[in-house]
Symmetry: C2
Subunit: 153 residues, 2 copies
DNA sequence: GCCGTACGCCGCAAAATCTGCGGCAGACTG
DNA sequence: CAGTCTGCCGCAGATTTTGCGGCGTACGGC
């Protein structure tokens, strides 16, 4: 659920800070501060504020799926059967390898991205999905781009 | 391009460390160390090793697209026309709001995820894509799940 | 069995960073 | 013009990071 509270809008400095911390979330406050031309105290208070307002929702490491042993990466589109919408959450709970799930308009009701160690592993997950909707599975050759949301106009 | 160097495989401690730093990449070495039952020195050397081996590819902040002013989130599937494959990189260069691009098997050759401030903004980008392939655009109602790759079996 | 080497972890001390707080300047209000 | 509020600075103590020496275990050669 998206938080729609109305808070102070982001100023240019906030946006620069967001881009800096998207580039390297383990950077020190001094380094982040350099990017926004502020001292460490002000940088810290802005960072805390962005976190508390829900603009920054967390700090995470980007990890190579291949290095973790996932040789397959699939995109699955699904049209849910009948009234089985609430079953989606169950499936997500059962399969942490479903790393992304979007509810969308159009022909398919859901888009999934799945990581799998091999075909059997992938089929184990897709067959579970197929119990609640009709699916189309595409394999990913290459992640061409995966980048942060642009924060500055 | 995926790095396919053969390096030492990940042990259980590496995988625990990966999960810890996926949970909070701004955590201190002491905190991360607690999760893997090691001191700060050992934690640091393992973290550095994972980074150097390309297992951890970076540390980044998760940011709410809505808070940045993106009211629309779209998924676009595209079948490239003729020999226009190399034009995809150009389009990605022109539009930072295309936050994800996957090259896939099947009917569509590419999957994109696009953030837009409004319909006009979205159309500006999709019409650029439409110049190199036939596209299908779905809007995202909700990001149901977006989580890190599972590192432990 | 016994040495030599390599690897991974510990612990230390110095440097860097974080944290909480007081103070100050500019904006806005009555 | 005084009062208040907001946002930034800078300081000092606490915490964290960093680089390095040392130790124990595993492994291979002899």
């Amino acid at each position: 659920m998206t938080d729609t509270r109305t808070t102070t809008p982001l100023d240019e400095t906030d946006r620069l800070l967001i881009e800096a911390v998207q580039r390297d979330s383990r950077a020190s406050l001094a380094e982040l501060g350099k990017a926004i031309h502020l001292g460490t105290s002000a940088t810290r208070s802005r960072l805390r504020s962005l976190e508390e307002r829900g603009v920054i929702t967390g700090h995470t490491a980007r990890v190579s799926a291949a290095a973790l042993g996932y040789t397959l990466h699939a995109v699955v589109r699904m049209k849910v059967h009948g009234a089985l919408y609430d079953r989606v959450a169950d499936v997500l709970g059962r399969h942490p390898q479903i790393v992304r799930c979007l509810r969308v308009t159009g022909e398919s009701c859901y888009h999934f991205e799945i990581l799998a160690t091999d075909m059997a592993d992938l089929e184990r997950i897709t067959s579970d999905l197929a119990r609640i909707g009709s699916i189309t599975t595409d394999l990913v050759y290459e992640v061409v781009a995966d980048r942060p949301s642009p924060a500055t106009r």
